[in-house]
Symmetry: C2
Subunit: 623 residues, 2 copies
Amino acid sequence: MSPKITTELLKQLRQVMKSPKYVQEPVQAYILPSGDAHQSEYIAPCDCRRAFISGFDGSAGTAIVTEQHAAMWTDGRYFLQAAHQMDNNWTLMKMGLKDTPTQEDWLVSVLPEGSKVGVDPFIFPADQWKRMSKALRSAGHDLVPVKENLIDTIWTECPPRPCKPLIVLDLSYTGVSWRDKIVALRSKMAERKVLWFVVTALDEVAWLFNLRGSDVEYNPVFFAYAVIGMNTIRLFIDGDRMMDPAVREHLQLDSTLEPEFKIQVMPYGSILSELQAVGAGLSPKEKVWLSDKASYALTEAIPKAYRYLTPYTPICIAKAVKNASETEGMRRAHIKDAVALCELFNWLEKEVPKGTVTEIIAADKAEEFRSQQKDFVELSFATISSTGPNGAIIHYKPVPETNRTLSVNEIYLLDSGAQYKDGTTDVTRTMHFGTPSAYEKECFTYVLKGHIAVSAAIFPNGTKGHLLDSFARSALWDCGLDYLHGTGHGVGSFLNVHEGPCGISYKTFADEPLEAGMIVSDEPGYYEDGSFGIRIENVVLVIPAETKYNFKNRGSLTFEPLTLVPIQTKMIDVNLLTQKECNWVNDYHQKCREVIGAELERQGRHEALRWLIQETEPLIRVQ
Amino acid sequence: MSPKITTELLKQLRQVMKSPKYVQEPVQAYILPSGDAHQSEYIAPCDCRRAFISGFDGSAGTAIVTEQHAAMWTDGRYFLQAAHQMDNNWTLMKMGLKDTPTQEDWLVSVLPEGSKVGVDPFIFPADQWKRMSKALRSAGHDLVPVKENLIDTIWTECPPRPCKPLIVLDLSYTGVSWRDKIVALRSKMAERKVLWFVVTALDEVAWLFNLRGSDVEYNPVFFAYAVIGMNTIRLFIDGDRMMDPAVREHLQLDSTLEPEFKIQVMPYGSILSELQAVGAGLSPKEKVWLSDKASYALTEAIPKAYRYLTPYTPICIAKAVKNASETEGMRRAHIKDAVALCELFNWLEKEVPKGTVTEIIAADKAEEFRSQQKDFVELSFATISSTGPNGAIIHYKPVPETNRTLSVNEIYLLDSGAQYKDGTTDVTRTMHFGTPSAYEKECFTYVLKGHIAVSAAIFPNGTKGHLLDSFARSALWDCGLDYLHGTGHGVGSFLNVHEGPCGISYKTFADEPLEAGMIVSDEPGYYEDGSFGIRIENVVLVIPAETKYNFKNRGSLTFEPLTLVPIQTKMIDVNLLTQKECNWVNDYHQKCREVIGAELERQGRHEALRWLIQETEPLIRVQ
């Protein structure tokens, strides 16, 4: 990976930052967040402005360019990647380390007195605007909206915004019709006494209407907004995709409907003016509900007194608790996914010793096996196929320049997943195709102990996921090891592989309590820069637990792994496991054998079945 | 405990809420927080206004009185106590339970349109003002400051504000002179570019000037404010205590000093006008640093643009990290405290079977033994001496109406501590003087496992205490048990027994990272309403840990127990402990024997020494 040369681009950006053509007054700094107008984590190529200007294309990062400086804030997953992808014009700001300044503090320290800091108000979330604006103002600077995105003015070859056909999801997948979802949403709106709800997140629009798209790679979403009133439904979407008869029928666009279920289709670009019209027509006490992460531009369209902002929308929370149809779909998807991985690992065991399998070949092979499964749509994120030192780059994606050959001497880490019409998967396994060292096994075993500690945890109803994060670290901490990322994230149901409002992380305190039916990942790791990476990840379903005393009828929860792929026993130092942990591994492998074994049998994949049987031999612990 | 009859008082309060003598416009609700003008947790009798109006005298709780309703918000420690102390005029709002409304939501649900909600601006913290005011405004109501405290207008027998003599602490106790503390504070002020710092918390004033008082029971503090400029020191304090020659010499009030260390003594009541004068004299960019928990009245004295507010002040943070003199003092205090408790428990073992020892007698006896120790000043909080069902009232204090006799059939819980001139103690032990049931032992052992999990935890430098809270609960959770309070709080050095900015709680996310030298409590528990309470509490010192891999030189921390009092082995079901936990108990008891044994020997307390030896016999675990 050689860094992108950005000298000329930065020069151009600094010119437009002063150009009266684009800014009312010159801005001394310009902030480039990661997201798009929907605050998406994964974005379309036309929205990859931060990557365009800096070269750094990780999923999280904020760039700030001033007249003298260019700085990039990103988190522990991306320290190595960002350092590799950016040239000397850029300073890397490692978030989470003690001495790293916040963006606000840094701006205040470098800006000349009375500066203007520009930002695209369509991309900047309202909650961040508030924080940033306050910090700048108290230091004598101003945060100002710059209507035209300044990167777009210098990005001559910016690709067009995608506008791909939609997929209709029927009731057997979603469990609830879009009409019933609207009814439930309106009842939440009535509870909070709001008259309007603005749907800004792409996955929330998709979930609400039981539609999927492919405008953004890996995320089955489409560019759209929706504004739901007590008697109206407005869907803002471009292109001829509303001409598709299946979509028209699904949305009943041509049927005679009760007016409150009649969907008005409007151009994507008209959201701001329509929202401004809604805002202008409000009477006192009439409120409009928005996510506090909605863009500053849309939030400002509603006069302050009429806004009702919450960190999580009712759609976000409803979407996180999977119903029976969704849960069953997720189970099916994970069984198919495990079949593909058994095929892959069986194939790797044979091929790796020949020295012909690169990271890219392995990733492609994983996709090939997945694509053979029923209802496969696409991958759910860029496959992290990494061997040896590349494994320490937490969100690594192999490219020709970095592509290593798998060998019997290095640890191989594969973090991958897929979108099936019935569910989304995300699984990490760390394998050795030769003989791992004692140290590698030791580290792997601590990570496994952390994985089990979370997966087997029992906790009272109402517990937030962040309270479980330290369980995943305890065994590592005891030996002076740690990892610089959270332990788990919410997973969508044939939707985004990362979704709120729940998760397991030391960083998130605003998460909603875990509830039966929520689905999260459990993925502790350990990374040794320049040497190897280890991560063990299952997607797990929150289920009721049975305990001796049941929390005085408050009830309790635990996790059930949906991912059923063997954890390589060769990497485990059995003597470091307790008997309970050893039993967990054996029970888990027994379940893999039964469930995935039956499916491999059914699909006639006998060689992969033999591999599965061999990989799920029970561990025996010497007392 | 019979409830306080409040019908007449509430009637009077509702009258003054409408009286033009006290309010510009009638207020439809009046909020009564717990604290005093310094946001103290423990308050002087003249400040116990919430207890006066409601009867509920726990340390935490907020009352709100409207024309129709009277409601009290308190946390899990006080659910039972509040229910017992309040009459039917009051509704108990159980904080932390899912269905309990917030104060804001409740107000919005009960108030008539366009209401005014009154509050004493001297008592209401600025951060709460902001939150409450915003929530009320968005629902069409107003939060208004009512200058005269409305309770004071109806509280005819309100006691006067205490004004007791001061204690001078010399360098052997404090380790750092007040001048050096001022220098360090000014350097922090220079770092943040502020010109003034306002000290509002009583323990911060006491710590800064190396003075102690006794204006508030259990907390060695005195009513005062301080305003520190870059070249001036103003101390706002009443009474003739500044006439004390020892105090005058300590503060060098009569010496020829560099002007920047000359202390100007001013009347306590003049803080507001002085601060307003400071505020009026500021030039642009000149800032005044206040805690965001300072009162709304003082915060408003400084125009908004000149305020610099932080959740924790630099004094709060410096005070939390104990220096070598303070740590040694805390060690000495805990050794003396353990001697007193060995005497007490030895005495109880003999006396309880006679049936003559009540909770109050036991608490008095504990105080008597403590008072025999060198440098004893007073207790550090009201002794929780509780047997049987009273143990389930988490912050129980025995009074004649509830006073139970200790017996060989019930669990006894003693949570107590003292102020010594060299340190503050806080220890809980749970004992059975007969034969505990298998269930009682089971619960005790889970609590012990949680206590050990925190005490023996190893974690990287920079970890916040709240990340350790779940370790204390894991063993309880596995069986469906939990406790409704945090696991630990910061402990002062001959100062408040509860202090910030660190702690171990699922509730606090704003805590500062744990650092070597900080001192916190480790006190998980289990409570069975109507039956018994169990809690095991040590005060522990944060110390560097040695680990195999040392977090890539980030360094690691663990805890060292300062409390050295035997944990009753009779209550332990050894078979529920792991070998590691069993070793922890045996090592701990070995240290108790060595350190406390030597002191008991030195003090010639041979009977208590024999008790200690017997109570610290090693546990043997059957494999």
